[in-house]
């Protein structure tokens, strides 16, 4: 049905072809008439020019001593003529002289006397050309009245926003921002700082940008932002009226609303500070602060507030990946390019261990999944276990695997893992917890069998 309307519209617009050609031909045939206002302006300018020329002629022909041609004097060097007010009418006559500046003997007057001292108009000047004196009133280099503004270059920006007087409507590369620039977003704006570092500014937000030697400081006056600062690059700090947020290698959001600021951390941790105290929320936690209070104690949150940024971020991120292509922090056997579990008599048929203390293998994401590509030679029970060092607890998940020569993918949500020692920790894996060892244990007790693992991947799913 729409096609019919669209076809009619196509015909409708095509119906103007003839008229359009006439308009184009009229344009090309006639010189573009300037507007009447412009013509009037030209006429006025012409009249003014003629008047000025007459004035020039008049003053040039008058018998008064005039300045030597070819020199441009700064101030009065000769004794002033008897008429004290002659300097004013002479002014227009001198202007059209060629501006050849001879190496001027230092002038005795500056255009602006330092103090407006009332002088007698008839009194001759006490001293005229005084060579040593001019040093002081010599035209001083213009002193900057304002401090130089620091400038930073944003690698790329997306979205619709105003930056000071500029209107940014499409994707921009290498956008220069200076201290004091105010960014007012209409839609979600993305400010890319480096490869893996960017700031998403929520719709209808107002941010003052303050680049400095240490990086980029963002003063959030209104609205919200989400900073993803994973890779290397310039430091970013965020401040609101209520607090200052110092990221410690992390992903977090800041929302400022009527003197109340909430900081939500998705990855890593941040330091929220104001004059009344400091709080350090970690992944999956929220801190609220206000103009007149200390930052609250970190409380768990579900990150639903980050939903506005969802379409501007990749849906998932790989937090850890091991494909056993080369020797690494894992113990097992290499069999035809993949890892094969080692037998562990009394414990299980085969096990594959991976471990790294510093840096940890990965930090437990708020929402994540462990994906294992494997195959086995017989059906058996298997469990996957990892150790979260900050709560000093193993988390384990039992599964039943099938026998088969085909590679299968086992996907386990992190939420499905349970602590092995409930007296140390109860509940789910704490977000942000560093995982220092990871193991796959195949078969029970004295069972026999083998497991081959092609890869292990930990995927962080975005809220």
């Amino acid at each position: 049905m729409n096609d019919d309307v669209e076809r009619k519209l196509e015909e409708f617009y095509r119906g103007f072809d003839e008229s359009a050609r006439r308009v184009e031909a009229r344009w090309k045939a006639q010189p573009p008439a300037r507007s009447r206002a412009a013509l009037t302006g030209l006429a006025l300018a012409g009249s003014a020019g003629v008047a000025a020329a007459i004035l020039v002629l008049f003053w040039a022909l008058r018998p008064e001593p005039a300045a030597q041609p070819g020199t441009l004097e700064i101030g009065e060097r000769r004794p002033p003529p008897p008429l004290p007010h002659v300097a004013h009418p002479r002014e227009p006559a001198r202007r059209p002289e060629p501006p050849v500046v001879t190496p001027p003997p230092p002038s005795t007057e500056t255009p602006k006397p330092p103090e407006p001292r009332p002088e007698k108009p008839d009194a001759p000047r006490p001293e005229e050309p005084k060579p040593p004196a001019p040093e002081a009133p010599k035209p001083e280099p213009p002193k900057p009245t304002t401090a130089e503004r620091a400038v930073a270059v944003l690698r790329e920006t997306e979205g619709t926003f105003d930056l000071g007087e500029r209107q940014v409507r499409t994707r921009q590369k290498d956008l220069r921002v200076a201290t004091g620039d105010i960014l007012r977003s209409t839609t979600v704006a993305k400010l890319v700082l480096s490869e893996d570092r960017f700031v998403l500014v929520g719709p209808r937000s107002v941010i003052e940008l303050r680049p400095d030697a240490e990086g980029l400081s963002l003063h959030l006056d209104q609205g919200e932002l989400l900073a993803e600062l994973v890779g290397p690059g310039p430091a970013v700090r965020v401040a609101t009226r209520a607090c200052e947020v110092k990221p410690l290698g992390t992903v977090f959001s800041v929302k400022s609303d009527k003197g109340r600021t909430s900081v939500t951390v998705e990855k890593g941790k941040v330091e929220v500070r104001n004059a009344r105290g400091t709080s350090t929320p970690r992944a999956g936690e929220l801190v609220v602060t206000s103009d007149d209070g200390a930052p609250s104690v970190p409380a768990p949150t579900d990150l639903k507030g980050h939903a506005w940024a969802r379409t501007h971020r990749p849906p998932e991120r790989v937090a850890y990946f091991e494909d056993f292509a080369k020797p690494g922090a894992w113990s097992g056997e290499v069999d035809k390019g993949v890892a094969k579990g080692l037998p562990a008599p009394g414990l299980c048929a085969a096990r594959l261990d991976i471990g790294s203390e510093r840096p940890p293998l990965f930090e437990a994401p708020v929402r994540g999944q462990i994906q294992i590509v494997y195959r086995t030679d017989r059906a058996a029970k298997m469990y996957v276990q990892f150790f979260a060092s900050d709560v000093r607890t193993n988390f384990r998940k039992d599964v039943q695997v099938l026998r088969g020569s085909a590679w299968r993918t086992l996907a386990l949500d992190l939420d499905e893992f349970t602590p092995t020692l409930r007296d140390r920790h109860s509940g789910k894996v704490p977000p942000g917890a560093p995982v220092t060892s990871f193991g796959i244990y195949y078969g029970e007790g004295e069972e026999r069998g083998a497991i081959w693992v092609d890869s292990i991947r930990v995927v962080e799913v975005r809220p």
């Binding site: 019919d4 409708f12 308009v23 344009w27 499409t170």
Partner: protein, 169 residues
Amino acid sequence: MDEEGLVGAARRGDREAYGTLVGRYARTVMARAYACTRELSAAEDLAQETFLRGWQGLARLEDARSFGSWILTIGGFVCQEWVRRKQTAEKHRYPAARPAASRPAEEPDLPLAEAVAELPADVQQILALRHGAGRSCEEIAQELGKPLGTVTKTLSRAYAHLRERLVRR
């Protein structure tokens, strides 16, 4: 030469370049003006006036890539002024029997023009860019700084409106 280059050349005073731009957008501007005036000759005058103002105000165009939407916006203002002038003139004139409309056969579809004229100016602009200038929805979204979904949804609603209006007639 691409559009950005043409606008740049026109800014430097190149009338040929601006003439090329006129050729590109004359149909679109004409359609917009005709939707307002419903008279082909008046629409041509308004289109001419629009391009003249565009030429005089080229220095104010910030983004050379959005010349199309910019000139259409000027066209909208010119049309509004024309309507105001016409209303004022009719207020101070004795009502006279208007001659029967004797439209030449080649004049575009008047009912469709009237239906288009009922749409808000920004919707008319999107329609003109889509069907008059042959832009894709992505290009329109980029040019107008609107989300793609907004453009497609606006077009879809415009089609629905036009369909309803044409069926009612």
